[in-house]
């Protein structure tokens, strides 16, 4: 497919929690410099895949490769300088300020005797400016709104200065305006800084609008991947999500827009299908 191997890929990995297998013999490559979005129904294994790519879940078989090396054999700090992750839930310590939290993103670049270089200072300032929280430095994280807080966490991940950044459902728990806000920020980071972004998103329409590369997952298998304009079709949505729908052009961006079929139409189709299944 590609002539050159991409920086981050999974090679026929089997992923399981304890004894429960989530995905078997899964292979995927994350195109360099893409904004890749992983979509799929609940419990399809998309977050599990992201955890494996970020080395938090060790595959029981196969391996995840980062720059040609098995990620689980690499030193933790070395990985953390290349690959960042915004986890689904992080805890802001009580009484921490925004600047302090963002500064923690510099951890992999520091050591016991190199705790705070001028470069650390500059990058933290830049990361806060890039995410629009530059004015909030002295504020406490617990007094911010949900949207602001998510920007602060993203700023922390940016301060890590990794060419690859993984985001696990970055828009969950945010209202629509803040969801768009965070996605705009991701798109901007992707475009202006040339970082490779991989996000798990719930909303297929958001994914179709923002992704440059889409990966659709169902039951631990990759059903389709490619640019949203090629991947998002009515057949695919039905196959992956089990939802009858139309796919039309988004009036704003001309990207695919999924419009679920009306309830009556779906009920009819369901009844027609019933005897067969």
């Amino acid at each position: 497919m590609q002539s050159r191997r991409q920086r981050l890929s999974a090679e026929s990995v089997t992923l399981s929690y304890d004894q429960r297998v989530i995905a078997r013999d899964l292979s995927v490559e994350i195109p360099d410099n893409s904004f890749t979005v992983i979509v799929g129904p609940n419990a399809c294994g998309k977050s599990t895949l992201l955890r494996a790519l970020s080395r938090m879940l060790k595959p029981t078989q196969g391996q995840v490769l980062l720059d040609g090396q098995a990620i689980h054999t690499m030193p933790a700090k070395k990985v953390a300088k290349t690959l960042g992750l915004l986890p689904q839930s992080s805890i802001a310590p009580d009484g921490i300020t925004v600047a302090d939290l963002v500064a923690r993103g510099r951890y992999p670049h520091q050591g016991l005797l190199r705790q705070w270089s001028p470069e650390d200072e500059r990058i933290v300032q830049e990361s806060m400016a890039a995410t629009g929280v530059g004015e909030l430095g002295e504020r406490y994280v617990d007094e911010l709104s949900g949207g602001q807080r998510q920007r602060v966490w993203i700023a922390m991940a940016l301060a890590q200065q990794t060419p690859l950044l993984l985001l696990d459902e970055p828009t969950t728990f945010l209202d629509i305006q803040h969801q768009i806000d965070v996605l705009d920020l991701c798109a901007e980071l992707h475009e202006t800084q040339g970082r490779t972004l991989v996000a798990v998103l719930h909303d297929l329409n958001h994914a179709a609008r923002y992704a440059t590369h889409l990966i659709a997952v169902r039951d631990g298998e990759i059903v389709a991947e490619g640019p949203p304009s090629e991947v998002v079709t009515a057949e695919l949505v039905e196959r992956v999500f089990g939802l009858r729908c139309q796919v039309i052009a988004d009036p704003e961006t001309a990207t695919p827009l999924v419009v679920p079929a009306a309830r009556e139409a779906r009920a009819k189709a369901g009844a027609a299908r019933m005897p067969a299944s």
């Binding site: 970020s54 953390a80 992080s90 005797l113 004015e135």
Partner: protein
Amino acid sequence: MTATQPSPAPEAPARRPAPSTRTVKAVRTAGGLSLRIEPRAALSALLLLAVILAVSVVLIGSGDFPIAPADVVATLLGNGTAAQEFVVQHLRMPRVLVAILVGAALGISGAVFQSVSRNPLGSPDVIGFGQGATVGALTVIVLFQGSAADVAGGAAVGGLVTGAAIYLLAWKRGVHGFRLVLIGIGVAAILTAVIHYLLTMAKLEDATRAVVWMTGSLDGRDWAEFRPLLNVCAVLIPLVLALGRPLRMLEMGDDAAYALGVRVERTRIVLMASAVVLVSVAAAAAGPITFVALSAPQLARRLTRSPGPGLGASALMGAALLLVADWTASNAFGERELPVGVVTGVVGGVYLLWLLVTERKAGRI
């Protein structure tokens, strides 16, 4: 690395690339080394050191043979009379030094456990290590009528075994805060029953000795108690302090710490094991002194106003607290000298109630 441009955000033309307020203060050397400094934390540390020194001088000077503070300082510098020299060197110095190390060990291990469990209740005396050390010591006293050194050894072993047991019970793909606290409280309850059982089996003189040990006391501590304590503290306190930075990352959750390159489980197990050993040797030296491990990290945190329990400040706070408690126990009740454990127990009970009420209000328990 990718060279990040400070992407010019369209909505804020007034934003300067480097605002005058620095986010973090640090001292730097020419060779590229740098240390983070939090001014308020550094000031608090100096203040606590001053308190420790002052109370130590007062404590060394007070007793049946009072010595004025100026004479204490003179004696410590080698200019005292022979009598003063004897009293200070052989009777009172070791006791004060034991108090400082026990307090520091309790304070820092309390900070480790509260940080790992992300819960101010997750301190060693609430989650069973104190009780474990007590079971160990009482076993030696009641069943074997062992010597003081044997009792200390029993306490250390009891604390360590309890630590290992709680770790294994709480381990399920990593140790998590609330589970650690709940299992610890359960283990503490079981061990308390074992303590009572041992007491009912004891002969009267052994029972008396056991109860005195259980109260926690610094009476008659000499260089024999000090040296093993010093050896352990000299190794483990710097080790724990060196792991303070990854520990701070762990406070944000395992995933966030992983993402930043912290070896989560290894860091946690080294820190917890060190903290258990420190609590155990503290108990071996002075009995299960309550309240210090619970309160020192929280008091230190309020003094330094830094997020999360600071390790160094907690150690200093623990030492200062235990010294003040010891002075109170010896002097505040007239002729009658109380074991220090009574004072820390009473104050600690009140503090625990306050903590439970505020935690409940904050919706954390």
